[in-house]
């Protein structure tokens, strides 16, 4: 579905993405897990055709940004790490605006409102929404074109546990449709709760990849060393991260 081949992007002396090679198969939910500054946004925005790699190649559904931008814009659903909407435009109007960008009819917005559970707020100005509702609106815009592939950059950062769980529920509901998901996060619970495929990233590089089970098995010995100081008996993603980098995820 997506293939990333030896992609690099430097900002002056910062190696934001430093030679990443990854394949994302169709139908999987993949988490790109890493602390702040790991290069998640840079990588994901290169996949989304918003930033250009210094070198390397990115292909989505067998196509590249240089030649097939219009096609790729049509099939991708994305939510950026940060987007502010126009204060005095309502939720429904915002969704309908984006629906029209995709050539969708007036029926698209109500359907998405239902999906993101904002139907009651459709006449509210965006300025009057809570942070959680805004994140759901962002998610709704990503879903407005019924994309096969959904790319979300930190969809739940800054949300309280309830608001976070609401987003997770919406994403889980999409699974039966065969949607593929790539999401970035620095919450290991999020990666564990939603994704079967986890990519651990730090300082522009991919450190490890696999299911939770695979990662736990592969790094059991190292994680056990780390864990000795604590009471837990399970190997957590955080233990694995500490074993790989010597730091905690949220540091």
């Amino acid at each position: 579905m997506i293939s990333v081949l030896n992609v690099r992007k430097y900002f002056k002396d910062v190696r934001a993405v430093d030679g990443v090679t990854l394949e994302f198969p169709k139908g999987t939910y993949t988490a790109l897990l890493g602390p702040n500054g790991a290069g998640k946004t840079t990588l994901v925005e290169m996949i989304e055709g918003i930033q250009k790699p210094d070198s390397g190649e990115i292909r989505i559904l067998g196509r590249g940004w240089a030649r097939d931008e219009r096609y790729l814009r049509r099939v991708l659903g994305i939510a950026l790490q940060e987007t502010n909407f126009i204060d005095k435009i309502t939720v429904g109007e915002t969704l309908d605006l984006f629906a029209s960008f995709f050539g969708r009819g007036r029926d698209a917005a109500p359907r998405i409102l239902d999906l993101i559970r904002l139907t009651e707020k459709r006449r509210s100005y965006v300025m009057n929404l809570s942070h959680g509702m805004r994140q759901r609106l962002s998610l709704g815009l990503a879903l407005i074109n019924d994309p096969e592939l959904l790319i979300l950059d930190e969809p739940t950062t800054g949300l309280d546990p309830n608001a976070r769980r609401e987003v997770w529920d919406i994403l889980r509901d999409l699974r039966p449709r065969g949607t593929s998901l790539l999401l970035t996060t620095h919450y290991m619970e999020e990666a564990e709760a939603l994704c079967d495929d986890i990519v651990i990233m730090d300082k522009g590089k991919v450190l490890a990849r696999g299911t939770i089970g695979e990662l736990a098995a592969r790094y059991a010995a190292e994680a056990a060393l780390v864990r000795r100081t604590r009471e837990s008996r399970e190997t957590s993603l955080d233990d694995i991260f500490v074993a790989l980098t010597g730091r905690h995820l949220d540091e």
Binding site: R74, S100, F101, G103
Partner: protein, 363 residues
């Protein structure tokens, strides 16, 4: 028409009309400004309708006292005869006695617009003024016709036409309308686009199949409609309160209005093409609008400026727009006179638009 385009235009309107302060700045302020300036400058003896009277050996004060008294009577008689015009006419003229070098200085500073000296033969006088200064020519004409022709001879239609269109308010209103187009477009398109970029909404919109030129064109369309409403509001006020009239071709006025909006839309898109910093964006727009407001002869004629600078000032889009509108309002101009400036303005818009699109930062 395309649904995305209609949605985008509607969005501009909703944003505009759901913001009460914007209504104030867009509609009320220009009217208040026109009213204040029109009343303050238009009806008092103001800045330029003062005649300097040069005192000298052969023309002592007593000579002038008699001359001024005569001129005043003649002017009063003339004013009574042509009192049909709107309010705030401001044809009042005052006289100031002063020595010659002071008269020259006052002329330079705009405190007087012309001065009179005693001529060679008997009771005759000689006027000195800059022939390119319309205010001075007008003052001269008023004094001369009052003294020479008498009230009965100037009370005809030709004299009335000369008066209509030379009041300060007649000069001011077309300029204010032009300035409104400029600031409305630069803030309403340039600043709005920068703001959308700052919100990171521009990159989100650009990351859809939305056509980018259609997106920019929707801003132009929405602004054109808003500008037309603003234009009508100020014009209708000026017509009702001050009796300002369009003496020339209305289709030509519409063409100039659209061409001016095009010019400033191009400039606004160019100005908004890169920055995502509110202070830089604000500064850029001020840097474009402010000099033009001062230099383009909106409030006072640029003909007082040094000769070398006038050629430059005439190239400014706002000067072109204001001059074209003024000639339609006051000189009865039509397509023949304003066709060229309108085409230049439209071309300015196209060139800046193309340049802006080339360097536009969407993400």
């Amino acid at each position: 028409m395309n649904r995305a385009f209609r949605n985008l235009v509607a969005l501009q309107f909703k944003e505009f009309f759901r913001e009460p302060e914007i209504i104030f700045w867009a509609f009320v302020l220009p009217i208040v400004l026109a009213w204040l300036l029109g009343v303050a400058i238009g009806s008092s003896n103001g800045l330029t309708r003062t005649v300097g009277v040069v005192e000298s050996g052969e023309a002592p004060r007593e000579f002038w006292d008699t001359w001024i008294a005569g001129a005043r009577d003649a002017l009063d008689a003339a004013a009574d005869a042509t009192a049909a015009g709107g309010r705030g006419g401001g044809e009042e003229i005052s006289f100031r006695v002063l020595p010659r070098d002071e008269a020259i200085l006052s002329l330079k500073q705009g405190k007087i617009s012309l001065f009179v000296e005693r001529g060679s033969g008997g009771g005759s006088v000689r006027y000195s003024f800059d022939p390119r200064n319309g205010e001075a020519r007008m003052t001269h004409l008023l004094v001369e016709s009052a003294l020479g022709g008498g009230a009965a001879a100037t009370g005809n239609a030709v004299a009335a036409l000369e008066v209509q269109g030379t009041r300060y308010i007649d000069y001011l209103v077309p300029g204010l309308l032009a300035m409104d187009i400029m600031s409305s477009v630069l803030w309403g398109i340039g600043w709005v686009l920068i703001e959308i970029r700052i919100k990171k909404l521009l990159r989100r919109m650009a990351a859809t199949p939305m056509h980018k030129s259609m997106f920019l064109f929707s801003h132009f369309t929405a602004r054109l409609i808003v500008n037309a409403i603003e234009f009508l509001a100020l014009f209708l006020f000026a017509r009702w309160y001050f009796g300002v009239k369009v003496q020339g071709s209305v289709p030509a006025l519409v063409a100039v209005f659209i061409a001016g909006s095009m010019a400033f839309t191009g400039i606004a898109i160019f100005v908004s093409s890169r920055t995502a910093n509110p202070r830089a964006g604000n500064g850029l727009i001020n840097a474009v609008t402010f000099p033009m407001m001062l230099l383009s002869g909106i409030f006072f004629s640029y003909n007082h400026f040094p000769e070398w600078s006038i050629r430059f000032v005439k190239l400014l889009p706002l000067t072109m727009l204001a001059d074209a509108m003024r000639s339609i309002f006051n000189e009865g101009a039509g397509f023949a006179e304003v066709g060229v400036p309108a085409l230049i303005l439209a071309a300015v818009g196209v060139v800046f638009f193309a340049a802006g699109m080339k360097i536009y930062k969407w993400y």
